[in-house]
Amino acid sequence: MIRRKESLMSLQTKDGFQLDALLLLMDNKRDILNAPLILYIHGVLGHFLARGTPRLLPPALLEYGIGSFSVNTRMAFMGQIMGQGIFDDAINDIDASVELLVKEGFRQIFILGYSLGANIAAYYAAKRSDPNVRGLILEGCAFSLPDSQRRRWDKWNSVPSYNEVYDKAKEVLGPDPHKSENDQIFIVYRAWGPTFYPFHIEIFSYKAWWFMRGPEAYNAMTYKLISNVRVPVLFLQGENDDIIESRETEELARLVRESGNPDVIVKYIPKAGHDCMENPDETVRVIVDWISSIDSKARWETNNLPA
């Protein structure tokens, strides 16, 4: 067990959001700024304490000298319900996080997005190119968030249906959804399974849904923009993922390669579902090997880790 230093931090985005983040570093490592550091982006209704990858991966990778900065974006907790969790605007949260880390002197930044966070991270990497961001890890990344949800709702005969929600969203939000003053929360029953019980529902505000799951949520259609990603990409997916199909990952990887970016690897984690940390040993090994292969020229003192 290594000594670790944990700091709860707050940061401000350029559009005025205050975000919480957790910085996890080795306490007694001298060359900490040149060691890899992963910026973590959580999944749906997630946060940095959510079970699985957000909670378990940072301390596991710290054992290998890889620090972490886990940020609660505007989509954390109830962001998609209370209306402030606009997918397109979450890019500001990653901007602010990267800016803060660079200002602090970190130069080997990797971004890891889990589930919804993977789509946000891909959107960021397609739009931005900070030289300090060295690579992207996309765990359980949907080919398209809108298509994925439409298929799932259709499968379970959701109440209301996808098209009914779309019609109502247009009515509530009017001609300019982003600037609309109108918004409402709605529940979709039978969104995750065949019952009306709480664990099979989904809740959104129409505005948050529009930019994350609606048929015009173009930035959440990762296949439309992933060709613009120029940094190395590691796709991770559990072999038993019951939310994302394996072909979605393969197709995304193919699109990156065809765009001329050769640094793309797909790894399927055995004995894991949507959350790869159901198999922590294999997940950690894959990430450490991949970062090592990219970061071999950096002064990452893996051999000098404290006992």
Partner: protein
Amino acid sequence: MEQELISIPFGNSKIDALLYHSTVGSDKSEKEPIVIHVHGFLGNFLDGSQRFLPPLLEKSGYSSLAINTRMANFGLFFGYGILEDTVPQIDTAIVFLKELGYKKIILSGYSLGGNVVLRYAALRNDTSRYTTLKGVIALATPYSMPDSIRRRWDRWKSQPSYEEVYRKAKEILKPDPYNTSEDRTILIYRARGDTYRPEHTEIYTYKTWWFLAGPDAEGAKAYKQIEQIKIPILLIQGWHDDIIDPIETFDLAQIALNAGNNDVSAFYVNTGHTLEGKEGEVGDIVIKWLDRRFQKL
């Protein structure tokens, strides 16, 4: 100050918490009591008084444990945020602190968290048995959560109405609301204001509503809990609170005094329900209250 994110094992689950360990005067034995903070409606330990009070207390040498109960975040939306189920969670947090060596513990709750800590202290009011619990702090706490919610919904003409929700809840949860496996998530529009916007909407399941806001939610009626508490009580509220009427704090204090508790204090600060803008003043009140009771001045 040292902060540590911790997970306290709780059955098959865990309680997430942030431990603020005061290092003021660390050359001496640590100052007690330690304060456990409980969040408000849909809150967590990154919000509100759970966030601002521990650092203020730390400067005076008091450590804190800010916990996320089952009612944190969206516990109310998915059916597991039952008020009564927070009691064993607080038991576990107290045992955890006792194992760390603490002998004096104060419970502090904000808004809904005030109802939670008053409920807990009422159920654990045998001071010969529960020797470590030394006091309760209730910030912006409603006199009765069910009455407060009913009044608010009536005021804004909520959709559905309080009575409609009650009728439907009885139908769905009967005959044993606590043990039933039937439940639904519901939206209440115009619950907190006169629009259909998200900030004026509330979300529950029938079951979480039943035990927090329903007319039979005895545990959420603070006036019934506070009269059973025999340890020191501190009540603080914003004078301009637009969620809880300021008279509610006065009435709670009066009930506790009438029940024979001779250590009941109530303070008002010149702010609203969130206590925003008066964090330092609230901190000063709490620190003085702790110092006068637990330190040799």
